[in-house]
Structures are given as C-alpha cells and as structure tokens.
Homo-oligomer: 512 residues x 2
Amino acid sequence: MFLRAKFLQLEADKPVAIFNIEDAAELGIKPLDRVELSFGKDKVVAIVNIAKKIVREGEIGLYEEIQEHLDVKPDEKVHVQTAPPPKSMAFIKRKLLGHTLTPKEIHAIIVDTVHHRLSDIELTAFVTSLYNKGMTMGEIASLSESMTKTGRSLNLRTKAVYDKHSIGGCPGDKTTIVVVPIVAAAGLTIPKTSSRAITSPAGSADRVECIMPVNLSLDEVRRVVNKTNACMVWGGAVDLAPADDIFIKIEYPLSIDPFLLPSVMSKKKCVNAKYLVIDIPTGRETKIRTKEEFENLACEFIQLGKKLGIKVDCISTFADQPIGHAVGPMMEAREALSTVMHGHGPPDLVDKATTLAGVLLGFAGAKDGKQAALEILKSGKAYKKLREIIEAQGGNPDIKPEDLHSGKYVAEFKSSKSGKVLWISNKGIDIIARDAGAPRDKGAGIYFKKKLGDKVRKGEVLFEIYAEKNNKLSRAIENVRKLDVIGVGKERGMLLDEVPHAEEDRYFILER
Amino acid sequence: MFLRAKFLQLEADKPVAIFNIEDAAELGIKPLDRVELSFGKDKVVAIVNIAKKIVREGEIGLYEEIQEHLDVKPDEKVHVQTAPPPKSMAFIKRKLLGHTLTPKEIHAIIVDTVHHRLSDIELTAFVTSLYNKGMTMGEIASLSESMTKTGRSLNLRTKAVYDKHSIGGCPGDKTTIVVVPIVAAAGLTIPKTSSRAITSPAGSADRVECIMPVNLSLDEVRRVVNKTNACMVWGGAVDLAPADDIFIKIEYPLSIDPFLLPSVMSKKKCVNAKYLVIDIPTGRETKIRTKEEFENLACEFIQLGKKLGIKVDCISTFADQPIGHAVGPMMEAREALSTVMHGHGPPDLVDKATTLAGVLLGFAGAKDGKQAALEILKSGKAYKKLREIIEAQGGNPDIKPEDLHSGKYVAEFKSSKSGKVLWISNKGIDIIARDAGAPRDKGAGIYFKKKLGDKVRKGEVLFEIYAEKNNKLSRAIENVRKLDVIGVGKERGMLLDEVPHAEEDRYFILER
C-alpha cells in the first residue's frame, strides 16, 4: 500500500508511524505492530500507532526521525508493508514465561533496545519479568556485557584501571571528590564517571560541576586521564552504556531497579576497570537496610566482578544521616573542596573517603591503605592533584570554597527542646532539599548544624535550608513541618515508628 | 508555575501534557510523573511527557482531551503543579512484589484503568505481574466484579438469563448463529454479545453482521431481547466491560492473555447471566491443547462462576480442523444461515451447535437437551426465531444464503496425490484467510471441499481461497506454499513435526 507522507512535527525516541484507522484495518495492522516503510531505496521499520483524526485515510503520519531516514517530503508516497516484530520479542516472551535467557538472546534484546526497536510495552514486559522472575548470575553477566558492547569504551594506555562506585541512598555524599584526587595522587589511574541526580537532591556529577566542567567528550576524558591519572565527569555525556538510560525510563515510574548490578558493572567495564571498590550505604532509609541485605548484594557484585574480570571489594557504610553537614550541589562541593584543600574536614567524610581510597591503595599493594590515603590527603598532595584535574577539565584551578555560593533565601530551624539529636531522616532530607530546588538550583539544599548524638539546647539552630527562589524555600519550609526531619530528646524511647493511616508513599532511590 | 497552552492537534486515549525539558527540570518532574493542571475553576490531572523542540520553554503542549476539559484557548496561561501518582500505582507495585491484592485494591486499579489514569508502562507492569505471579481465585473474582461495575449493564425483565461463550481458537466456528435461535425458540432468554476478530479471520460479530446489523445501543439490545428472547450483537458497541479493551491493547503485542477468565465472566455478569455454557475448543493448535489443560481451565471457570452467581458448564470440543467448510465472515454466515434455514448442514456444525444448545436446555429442565435442540433446529422453529431476531435488529428477515456473496477472486488448490486428508492446520488457515482480506473484506476466506478423513484423488480440489482484491489473493496464494495448510497421504507417518531452524513464530489467539 502507498500512503502520502504527513509530517507531524513530533519527536519520539522511537521510529513511530501513525496510520488512519481505516488504512490500518486494510493493512491488517494493530497498534505496536511493525511495518516496513520504503521510499526510493531507503527502508525503515516503524512501530504502528493508529489515529482517527490527525491522520486521514491515505496518509501516514511520520515522526522526525523517519522523515530524515527516508528523506521524504510532505505528500510524497511512501510504500508500506507489514513487518515481523523484532526477533528479540520472542526472547522477552521467553523471560515472561520464566525461562533463563542465553547470552545471545540477551544480546539481541539489548541491541534492539539501544536501536529503539522495542516499544514501551515491550520494554516494560522485559523489565518487570526480570524483576518478577529474577536473573541468574549468568544472565546478569550477559546483560552487563551486552550493555558494555552496545556502548562506547574508554581505551586508556594503562591496563590497571581503578574505580569507585556508590549505589547511593545517603544524602550529602560528596566522597567522590575526596577519593579521586587521593587515589590519583598515589599514582593510580581512576577515570571516574558519575551520574546526575535521578531521585536525590544531588548526584556526583551535579556536585563536581560546581567546581569544574563535567560534560566532556570521550576524547577529552581520555586526554584528561592520560595527563592527570584521573577525571571526574558526567557519564551521560560519554554515552558509556546507553541501554541503561532507556531502562531507567521504565524503572523510574514503577519504582523498581532490577538493573542495579548490570548497570553499575557495565559502566565499569566500559572504562576497563580492573579494581573496584563499591560503597553500599546501609541504613534504615536506604536501599540496603540490614547486614544480610548488604552481604547478599556484596556477594553478587563480587561474583559478577569475577565473571567480568574486575576485582571487587564492597564496603557497608553507616547511612542513617548525611555525610558531612551539607546537602545540595553547591554546598556539598564547597564542603568537599574545603576538605581536600585543608586536608581535614567533617570526620565522617574524611573517614569514609580514606576508607574507600584505602581499599584501592590496598589493591595496589599498600599495607595500610587507609593510613596511606589519610597521609596523601593531609600532605596536600590530594589538593595538588585536584587542581590538576580541575585545570585539565577546563575549570579554574584557583577556585576557593568561598567562591561556591549557597542560595540567598535561607530559613533556620531551631530546636524546640534541649537534649541530643536522636535521629535524622534521609527521606525527609531528600524531599526537602528537592523542594528547595536541588539539584537544578545548585545553591539550594540543607546545612546541618547538628548531627546524630550532638548535644542541643532549646532554641539552638538544628539546620538551615537554602534556596535560590523564595517560592521554593516556602515549599520546603512547609514540608519540614510534615516530615519530621530531625529528632531531639533525652533518649530515644521505645516507639520507633507509627503508621497513622495507609498513605501512598513514593520514596524510591534510583541512584546507582 | 504558569505555562502558555499550545495545542498539538493530537489524540491520545490518556490525558497527556508535554513540557519543555527546561520547565520539567524547574518543576522537578520526569516523564510519566503526574501534574495537576488548572485553568479558572477547572482542574485535571495529566501524565507528563517531555520534549526538546515541539514545546518551547514557557509552553505546555496539550492533547485534545485536556483542552476540552479545561476549556482553554491557545496561549492562555495554565497553572501547573506536581501531583501524586494515582493511588492504584501502590497496588500495582504490591502485585509486582508478589502480594495478593484485596478486592478494594483491585477495584482501585480497574477504576484508574477505565479513567485512563495509568500510563502504558504502568498498565504493562500490572498485566505482566498478573501473568508472572498468577492470581488467586479471589483476585480473579474481584477483577471480574470490578470490570463489571466499571462498565454498563443490560437490565432485563427476566431473571433467568442464559448465555453461551467460546474461548475461540477454531477457525470457521459459526456455532453461535445456530445456537442462539435454537435456545431462544425454546423460550429461554439468551442476549448474546460477541466480539469482532482480534487475531482470527472472523469473530462472531463479524459473521453475524453479514446477516443483520450488530452495532446496537444498549437500549436497542434491551428492546430486541424483550421482544425475541435473544439478540446477536457486537459487545464493543454496548461498552459492557471497557477495562477489557484497554488490557487487550497491552496483551496483544506481548502475546499473553492473563485476563481470559475475568474478561469472559465480567461480560456475562454485565448481561446478568445465570446459566452459561462455555465451549473450549481443544486441539493441537488452539489455546487449550490437552485434556488436562481443558480440565484445569474448566475448573477455574466453574469456580469463578460460583463466586459470581453463574452456573457454568464447560465442554471440550474437537478443534483440529475448521467447523463446517467455510472460513471468513460472509461464507461462514452463509453456511450458518443455510443450516438454520434448512434444519441441517455440515454434521460437525450441527453436532456442536446442538450439544451447546442442549446444555442450556438441560439447565432449563430438558431431559435430553441435545435431542430437544436438534428437534427445534429440524422443525424450523429455530429458523422462525432467527428471522424474528434479524427483523428486530433491523435486518432483512427474508435474507437468503445466496444473498451472501464470497469475494470474486478465487484460487483453487488441488491435491498432488491420492489418499486421505490426514491433517489440517488451523494456524495456516488463520494466516491465509487474513492474508486474503478477512475479516475486513467480508467476502474473503477459505472454503474447504475436503476435511479430515475424507478420501481424495490426485487433482481433486482440496480448498478454495476467496478474496475481494486481487493483490490480497496473491498474498494468500504465496503463503499457501509456505504454510502447509492441509496434508494428504495414505496414512500418517510417525513424523509429526520438525523445526528446521528457530524462526520467530508469532501465532497467538487472543479471541475470547
């Protein structure tokens, strides 16, 4: 059948063609069937959508991508014939049925995913089946490998690449900015790619961006690492494992994360990491809440690492309060920069950073890695390295903590009683810091004057909220009252929690 | 935030609003989040979509449905604020986690489904979780009841409503057209609603439509049934269980059908059926292939019937070849009309129809229901009743079989050897009849001159393909060679089947 091209001025991330309901019946096609469109010598397979009005009988509505691919002009006649579904649909169906997939089958699914050949319904069926049916370690390894192969790779001169990863869940975690210069100053290669925030108030890339540019191309990253042993860049700009971004779009609305392991490890594989330390924040309101959960996940990471040729060490870190005092990109960057610059800072930040860096130094042969890391930090070598990295990435190496400004709208929250800080709610912090504008408004966030165990007098300031816009500050203030961010008292009573009524609660950490 | 309305001239079955990527970041929203839009006093919750070009910063792209709901004009300012996801998302998540849902939770999901508040990703997560995790009989009953409550009901004067259903899978199954007049002629009330073809060459509604109008409103259906005890109408026009159509759109591309039971039974509940006979075609290439599968499904239907107050009887029918000789709407209607008119016809059709009708007459007290049904058919009473139904539905009661014309393009297929018909492939029949144009081209289809066990001489015609368009006939002919529709030989050898190489095979019966 020939149909007249109609341009819809629409963007989609998939090749969609819209048919009038009558033509669709004539062709015997239904929504999400596939058709092969041809114009001259060019051919493309499109996903079928059906409409009653915007596309009239005899017309075919085309999205930009298809117009460009076929190089067709409005009203020119496009030939349409039915096409089979992508081969990988049969494999998704096998997973739906509970079968274990072979590496070849998984690779076919990932290839069709990154080429945008699968509809949202088909992708969702895959993601939920992985979640419902579980995966064997073999399947997880195949997913990791296929996600690596379908992305780009950082090919460095050195063979011994070190890396660090946190699965997230602890607010204010600016550890990366301290770890990377320590490790690089020790002479190890650590090409750190980080993500931006998905559900949190700041991702590592958002924090680092306050200090230096992070949107580097793969060539630029290679140049920076070859020069300084390190980088701190946004992974999204270098497109390491594009399948992951597509799966995140499905996982986010469902608040599930079956791709945690392959997502993390495929990206490490793309930078050719050989030694990896994984930080697994463990606490009441994080992804991983108990020692058992930590051990299970750690085992999976280590096993997967073995299959992929990466030596993995996992550490469980205390995550029942923010790291340091600051939450929000700009204030976190300031705290981290100050710590590296002066060689000391908030004790939990220093302890966590030197522990993580220490594991990597240990891989490289250090007897007491943590002590070695601490010395590098204190000696000023880490600061010197950080300035090198900033300069190589195109930033100002003379940048000072005081150049990093928090938002000008501020609200203080004082304690209504005397006592000790008994608990801090990460969940409340995330919501309020995002209300205040983080991560988009880089100066927005929360600064804690008091942390767990600190003595507090009635009327003393517990924390401050910073915002760049007044209306966002108001929104955040409003939620502080509802969310009970911090608890002060003589000692913690037996009552831990209470469910007043079953409210829908959507707190989900997708950071990886 | 206020944004200027931009009209996109797009239809969607959901309330979608498109934001520029910058405004989305400012609002802190992601694709598939919810926003509340307000204009004057009107409010509506929309699903978020994000674009870079079609909607500029400061604009909000609106689909027709939202424009109408808010009564807004282009460039008028719409207020936007974030809104929580629909409550039912928490329940879908519970099912994803493997929990059993309560009736209240299921009802919330079905209500949000019919009000188009759930995105395709969310609906797919629900459908695949039901498929992956299975359902308790309590959940199936709740689904059926909610799907009934969210639809319309046929309230008839009589309390004893009889009904018949086939789960499909056997081509040429025109049994309904014979059963309904027999049962109604016996004085029982049988308001039969049928579906159109989804994946087959003809649904009952497609067949009946060749004889009389089937797109009746609910009021018209009620009038017809009150007058004649029966009707044969398209269920889609009376909107009995709208949730089902929404779920079918998800099930079709995935080739799964977890809603079979609630879909069938909710529609029977909508017509207030008290007695129901379910035909479960059983054979090599149908949904139900073995006695065990039949018994399991039958038990579920009977149990579900008990919960819903419907007395159910299930029968397994031979389904390794078409019923009668004809496949395709017009030819099937002709065969059925002729059978009712003359009181006799193809033996398998008469046997199946009187068996099914007999079960219903048995429910009403007949000692030998099948014999009673056969007598009504032979006596001409069924034909008289059929004419009444045709007239009441607005058709021509004098319509004759010879008024029903098959397509004018015909191809005969002759046997290349002598022997007996050893097998007929339903799958091949479905594909070829659809290639020939069925169900859209009503005259298209296949007419079998020979059936299982019939003696065949070399050169004798096995079957004919009819089409309304020459190019469709060619397409069908081409596939006959590939698909091996009918097997003739001395006796069946031991070789049943062979998989030459793993070709993707998408044969899926979604008819219910």
